[in-house]
């Protein structure tokens, strides 16, 4: 998960959404998704409003719709699952286009599709307007245990180094005429994976040595603090608060 991916996911920009402090954005997205998940499935119009809210955020962030839609592909497996629901869920049957399907199944499919899509879209918006580094600072600010943040930070720092090593090993294998075609080649692949683990672990030990040499004694010095003022929080809160209003309407109407 290194920056190799990161800069593909992140879209550089200077929009108001990009400028919001990362912890505000994280909190907003999380709140939004929680609200979406709690919305009754029958309130179909509510999901339309949620989508409109996200579209508005995307517009402010100047994220093109094409970019957003392409990233939605990640949920395709669940679309497949959802599409099957109407056929496997027992219950009252109805006919759609000449095919008999179950009503609760249709509701279930709709529920999963709508909520998952909104959730993915919200995450994609977050990832494309917030740098990796900023997200870590945000998580730190949101009181994620520091050790966990450190682990994530090392993972991001060394993700590329390790995938590079993996790539080099694969090139070395192929230049000696090895081509992984099927199960029979798993042994060789697993051996390289074992080697990769040893290299990673030993690098971890060397990194620790380098840290200790510069005065590390178990806690990371805090160098960057992200801060947010009230206005920024207010901007960030707009999304989940509006969504909450929609959700409450959905429950009452």
């Amino acid at each position: 998960m290194g920056a190799g991916h990161a800069h593909k996911l992140y879209r550089h920009g200077h929009s108001p959404v990009h400028r919001l402090p990362p912890h505000c954005k994280l909190a907003a997205v999380f709140g939004f998704v929680l609200v979406v998940v709690s919305t009754p499935r029958e309130a179909m119009w509510a999901f339309g409003l949620y989508a409109a809210l996200l579209a508005a955020v995307a517009a402010v962030a100047r994220i093109p719709a094409g970019f957003l839609l392409k990233r939605l592909v990640i949920e395709v497996p669940f679309v497949a699952f959802a599409l099957l629901m109407p056929f496997v869920v027992p219950g009252e049957q109805t006919t759609v286009l000449g095919v008999s399907v179950s009503v609760p199944g249709l509701w279930g499919a709709w529920n999963v599709l709508a909520k998952a899509t909104l959730g993915v879209a919200a995450s994609v918006l977050l990832a494309s307007t917030t740098e990796l580094r900023a997200v870590l600072l945000g998580l730190q600010r949101l009181k994620l245990p520091p050790l966990l943040v450190q682990i994530a930070s090392f993972m991001i720092r060394y993700g590329d180094v390790i995938t590079d090593e993996m790539r080099r090993m694969s090139i070395a294998r192929r230049s000696r005429g090895f081509e992984a075609r099927g199960v029979r080649q798993w042994g060789v692949l697993a051996t390289s994976m074992g080697a990769l683990f040893i290299r990673s672990y030993e690098r971890g030990e060397r990194v620790h040595l380098a840290m200790v040499s510069r005065g590390y004694a178990g806690t990371m010095p805090v160098m960057d603090e992200v801060t947010a003022d009230r206005t920024q929080w207010a901007y960030a809160a707009a999304l989940p608060v509006l969504a909450l209003a929609v959700c409450l309407l959905g429950w009452t109407l």
């Binding site: 998960m1 909520k115 090392f154 992984a180 199960v183």
Partner: protein
């Protein structure tokens, strides 16, 4: 395999989140105890390794390929605490950056794919390495079984969560059969790769495999030009007789439960309903695979069809029982491990520079 938003209802998602947070908190303390201040760099590097491993494609057949999920591998290589931390971090990052797995489902995902796989795999691995003779071959075999069971166990855990908080009422028996059945197959792939990888690490750096201790060659001393065995480090005395009897009990119990469950499920799933069901669900997973493989780094396993639905039902039963047995024995082994921990810690301290 990553659960998206909207699959599990809000209360259960939150409950799973609390559970996952608790498990992570316990692991943070545990990892610190094992690795002290080296925790952050080592766990970070192992997390990066797990992430990289999930991108390495293992060709299955006819153009399909799968990748390792790594829960069992991480548990065996770096121990349960560090493994849970690594997987939690990987899942968190995947959720935030790749939208892979919903944010509200993060607790569910960490519980199902992190905690359950690690606990089941590690518990089973320690159980088996305890029962089998202390050789590299049995460590590899134990890794195979541990990984094999850990995947369907995680599917079973998902089914349980779905049963409590699923947003759609699919009959739970069907979900269970389908989920576990399919994941037995995935588990076989996971098991082969995990076992081979553990074997590869054991061959080169046995000291790095957390789940196995004391496989390193005994120290030699050079006395008057001849190599002499160094006096063995003080090992905890093993109460052999008492052990044997509990071991025998466990082996018999486990084997008979597995046989029974496999046999019964084999026929139980032969009912037309079950047959249809499993077939339909394989349909699901086939579709999942096709799309998944097209988007390889995030794809799940590309596993072929289940040729025999009955067989898979039978396997599902076997695995279900194993999972239950493992959870049941888990408590026992936790207690046992506590005792071993102090001994282990001293031996690990020696490796530290």
């Amino acid at each position: 395999m990553h659960v998206p938003d909207g699959f599990i209802d809000a209360p259960v998602s939150v409950a799973a989140g609390v559970f996952a947070a608790g498990a992570v908190a316990v692991s943070l303390r545990g990892a610190r105890r094992e690795l002290d201040e080296r925790t952050a760099p080592l766990a970070g590097l192992v997390a990066a390794f797990i992430f990289a491993v999930q991108m390495l494609n293992f060709p299955v057949a006819a153009g399909t390929s799968g990748h390792l999920m790594g829960g069992a591998l991480a548990a065996i290589l770096v121990g349960p605490y560090t493994a849970v931390l690594c997987l939690a971090v990987v899942l968190l990052m995947q959720g935030i950056f790749f939208a892979d797995g919903g944010l509200t489902a993060l607790g569910v995902n960490i519980t199902v794919m992190g905690v359950v796989t690690v606990v089941v795999a590690y518990g089973l691995f320690r159980l088996l390495t305890g029962l089998l003779p202390r050789t590299r071959r049995s460590a590899t075999a134990s890794a195979f079984v541990a990984a094999l069971v850990s995947v369907p166990a995680s599917a079973a855990a998902f089914t349980l969560l779905y049963w409590i908080g699923g947003t759609t009422d699919i009959p739970i028996g069907k979900v269970f059969t389908a989920m576990v059945g399919v994941h037995v197959l995935i588990g076989i792939g996971e098991a082969v790769i995990t076992a081979l990888t553990v074997g590869a690490v054991l061959a080169v750096r046995p000291d790095l495999v957390h789940g196995v201790q004391g496989l390193a060659a005994p120290l030699k001393l050079r006395v008057d030009g001849e190599l002499v065995d160094a006096p063995a480090a003080t090992r905890e005395p093993e109460p052999a007789a008492a052990h044997r009897s509990t071991r025998g009990f466990w082996i018999t119990g486990l084997v008979s439960a597995l046989l029974l469950a496999g046999f019964v499920s084999f026929y139980a799933s032969a009912s037309p309903d079950g047959l249809e069901r499993v077939a339909a669900d394989q349909g699901i997973d086939e579709k999942v695979e096709e799309h998944g493989a097209a988007d390889s780094p995030l794809a799940d396993y590309g596993v072929g069809d289940i040729a025999n639905a009955r067989l898979s039902g039978g396997l599902a039963g076997v695995i279900g029982v194993s999972a239950t047995v493992v959870v049941g024995t888990g408590v026992f082994w936790v207690v046992r491990r506590r005792k071993e921990e102090s001994a282990e810690k001293t031996s690990r301290d020696h490796e530290n520079v």
